[in-house]
């Protein structure tokens, strides 16, 4: 069971770090995407949405090839840090960020698209500075979308399995996350322990998602209200 606690801690760490990085990447990306008009836009949107439809093993497979010391990414990382990307926590973070990207970008995109430019123009006319506009106009208006993006990115990373299975190498404390630990228990016929982990993850995810929808009750239908 102590191994399971290590796995739980590692999974939370991965989900927190990945979702924070995702917010840093996804916010400007979604903003730019919401303003950008170009014939190539659907292609960019499709690329971001790919992890939604592709089996995680496809991503895992390409990451495994990209992480190898023979590739530019793997060798570049090795000369920078001296370490290897495959079988490392950093590698899992990279995998998770790509894997959960659409879950962060799409809600934010929907929020930014909804944002009426008139409010910003009015705020500008009233003399609000650019940062004040962001803080007092944009943020309150897209807050439900930010919460949704953060929550979904976090929850999705918690449940990540296929990618980690391919690039993790199952190292306790480094890459053995909850879903892998659970899989090990099932495979080695430890159904009791598997059940404990599975029910724990299920309840935790249920609470998390319920909280998310509760927080967003005011911004009802915020999830994909424009895009979906």
């Amino acid at each position: 069971m102590s191994g399971d606690w290590t796995a739980i801690w590692l999974t939370l760490k991965l989900a927190v770090i990945s979702s924070l990085i995702l917010m840093i990447i996804a916010t400007p990306l979604a903003w730019w995407l919401a303003k950008w008009q170009h014939p190539a836009k659907p292609i960019v949107q499709a690329v971001i949405a790919l992890p939604l439809v592709l089996p995680p093993t496809v991503l895992g497979f390409y990451l495994l090839l990209a992480f190898s010391p023979q590739s530019w990414l793997g060798s570049g990382w090795e000369s920078l840090t001296g370490g290897q990307l495959a079988f490392s926590f950093a590698g899992l973070v990279i995998g998770s960020v790509i894997y959960s990207l659409p879950f962060a970008v799409q809600p934010l995109y929907a929020g930014f698209v909804q944002l009426d430019i008139k409010y910003l123009e009015t705020a500008g006319m009233l003399g609000l500075s650019r940062t004040a506009q962001i803080r007092r106009v944009i943020l309150p208006m897209v807050k439900p979308h930010i919460i949704t993006a953060l929550g979904l990115a976090f929850a999705h990373t918690l449940g990540e399995f296929g990618v980690v299975l391919m690039i993790g190498g199952n190292i306790p404390g480094e890459t053995q996350v909850l879903s892998i630990s659970l899989y090990d228990h099932v495979e080695s016929l430890n159904y009791g322990q598997a059940h404990q982990l599975a029910i724990g993850l299920l309840i935790f995810s249920l609470i998390l998602m319920s909280l998310l929808y509760r927080l967003n009750r005011k911004g009802r239908d915020a999830w994909n209200s424009r895009s979906g």
Binding site: F87, I171, E187
Partner: protein
């Protein structure tokens, strides 16, 4: 509209009909390491008898779980003896339904030495600079054998911090092939004949006893028995060494 619905349901019902009537189609589930030889034996068996064998491969643990939950499998070839024995304990099969079909061997593959031996492994594992991939000892018999071999060579302590675990031997091989590890211990059957590969002595680990269980019931049982008899026949067993396995005795 009605016509469309009609043709759709006809199509669907075709898809849902089990391949009934093909009494002599056997469903065989095999542990990943033995999939390649089994597919070849199945083809030969088909040519010989006209009976079709459908092979599905996964890890032994997954296959066991599927069978335990009612999967329609006639013969289960495990990578170990513990899962077939477990089916026996569960009362799912009889003692006569469980039999050894091959003995596995452990191999070592690496990139630095063209003709390696056990000393190559020792030199590397005493002061590992890169990772060594083995199958997960908890899940895979070849992983357990690798752990035992490293322990007998008094290397376990030195190398345990540098290990990465594959889910099964095929994943270990994939870690090696993709260039993410330069050293791996895995089934000899997978790496036999490759550059940089060497078979490790059988004395370094407990025998990797690969057993099968006949899980077929009723009418399929005879067909399953016939196929198992073929697998245990001299014709098949004498081919096992060239696949990287040791042959086994005859069925009791």
């Amino acid at each position: 509209m009605n016509y469309r619905l009609c043709s759709l349901s006809v199509l669907l019902s075709f898809l849902l009909i089990p391949s009934a009537g093909l009494a002599d189609t056997l469903k065989v589930a095999v542990a990943a390491n033995f999939a390649k030889p089994l597919e070849q034996f199945a083809t030969a068996y088909n040519e010989k008898t006209g009976n079709r064998v459908i092979v599905s491969k996964a890890s032994s643990g997954t296959l066991y779980a599927q069978i335990n939950h009612g999967a329609d499998i006639d013969v289960f070839l495990s990578a170990d003896s513990s899962r077939p024995q477990q089916l026996l304990e569960d009362g799912r099969v009889n003692a006569s339904d469980v039999v050894t079909y091959a003995i596995g061997r452990l191999g070592y593959i690496q990139r630095s030495n063209a003709s390696p031996d056990v000393e190559t492994l020792k030199t590397f594992a005493l002061a590992p600079t890169t990772r060594l991939a083995i199958a997960n000892p908890r899940l895979a018999p070849y992983g357990e054998a690798a752990r035992q071999a490293l322990t007998s060579l008094v290397l376990w302590q030195h190398v345990s911090g540098a290990l990465v675990y594959g889910n099964n031997v095929l994943q270990v091989y994939q870690f090696y092939q993709s260039g993410n590890v330069d050293h791996a211990l895995l089934a000899w059957s997978l790496i036999k004949g490759e550059p940089g590969a060497v078979q490790l002595s059988d004395e370094l680990h407990q025998p990797i006893v690969q057993q099968l269980a006949i899980t077929a019931t009723g009418a399929d049982k005879a067909a399953a028995n016939a196929f198992v008899d073929y697998l245990l026949s001299d014709e098949v067993q004498t081919q096992l060494p060239q696949w990287g396995y040791q042959r086994t005795g005859t069925r009791e």
